[in-house]
Symmetry: C2
Subunit: 218 residues, 2 copies
DNA sequence: AGCGAAGAAATTGTATACAATACATGAACA
DNA sequence: TGTTCATGTATTGTATACAATTTCTTCGCT
């Protein structure tokens, strides 16, 4: 395996730590502490922090330190509503450019999703979920669209995990499987309007579930 | 004036240099060279590079260096088409939340735009143009939407300049003034559909002008 | 006790030396 | 002549020492 730069390692480890809640929202993380923890100097840590900040996972305050992001419910909703708009657009373009092989490709993704769900592999499930949502954008042939969708998707994952006290694989994930199939069906039929609507329904349903689940504790 | 961090200075200077074409597309910029040029060590330069990369102005290749972005025509079009989708959404939300003062505010912006145009202050013109396009997003009350619009807008500005061999204040800018007024008018009348359409027309017209202008030389 | 200032401690910001890596150059060889 | 491999050079990557800045603490004053 190719040797990775420490900067890259630091980035991945911190991100993972945030996702797995080893680092809590609003927690302060100092360069010094992390450099001891990861057994490297502060230099690559600083670089990694920069990148994590640009992705919204950390907030850097000059001369103060790095703080793990702590998204509000409103922000979570904001992201999902923006995703609706952008992913609908991606669907439009995807259907314009699609071929029969793409349908097969999408079917494969859904199959992998099911497998991940059944083997309760939470991380794999998240990864495949991202791939599914990025799939139309991949066909769109619009680089920026893909980029934006991946960005927002990543945020969603992170926020989703951060906001939930006891995140494992909840029932909600089971629900998203038939919803993804509905999207696939519309895609197969090249039905733009249907596909857009299914995407909207799915995203808003996920958002609803999140709000609901949260309200148990609040 | 508060003393700025060198990292901040480096960021601003490089960005400006790219915008003013002191640095050409695809040009390689080494940390060493810039550190001598800006009379600071490589450390703050590296930080600045990271940020410029995340904004798409530079491409960083590990162990190779930093390269000034060189967007293709296709990418320019991609960005503008994505902006259409997102700014339309912003307009919808803006009209939901708007008050009478907001109309006054928008009028002020257009007045400032005209002033900048008449005094041929190109940089001011670009700045105000960005403010105008971000204005609906500001009213939208969706943080991410605003962020995305500002990002794409900044890209557009940069690409717009990079792609044009002899950029000053061309006639196209004059055209955008009445188009902005059409948007304002729809906004004043709280006419969502009209406002969305005017935004779309304006963005696509800008894109057309860019493609056309370019084709003179190609 | 409350307030303010001065200094101490903690932490990021910067400079610099050195290591690791990628690319270019050129020699050896077929 | 063309190809491969070793070596050299340029440039980024990393560690570390030190400077600058912010925050915390403590002490003195009212």
């Amino acid at each position: 395996m190719k040797k990775k730069r420490n900067e890259e390692l630091a980035y991945e480890k911190v991100k993972r730590a945030i996702m797995l809640k080893k680092l809590n929202p609003d927690q302060r993380v100092t360069e010094e502490w992390l450099s001891q923890e990861l057994k490297m100097s502060r230099t690559p840590i600083r670089s990694a922090f920069k990148r994590l900040e640009s992705e919204g996972l950390l907030t850097l305050i000059p001369h103060r330190g790095a703080f793990v992001c702590n998204p509000s419910d409103k922000e979570l909703e904001d992201v999902f509503r923006l995703r609706v708009v952008i992913e609908r657009y991606a669907a439009e373009l995807a259907i314009e450019n699609m071929t029969d092989e793409d349908v097969v490709e999408m079917e494969k993704l859904l199959k992998r999703e099911l497998e991940a769900y059944e083997s309760k592999d939470f991380e794999a499930f998240l990864t495949i979920n991202s791939l599914i949502h990025a799939f139309p954008a991949k066909l769109s042939n619009n680089t920026f669209l893909l980029q934006e969708i991946e960005r927002l998707n990543q945020w969603s994952d992170c926020y989703l995990i951060l906001k939930d006290e006891f995140y494992t694989i909840p029932t909600e994930e089971a629900k998203s499987i038939p919803e993804h199939h509905a999207i696939l069906e519309a895609f197969r039929n090249r039905d733009v309007d249907k596909m857009c609507d299914e995407i909207e329904t799915h995203l808003l349903s996920t958002l609803d579930d999140l709000s609901e689940r949260k309200s148990i504790f609040s």
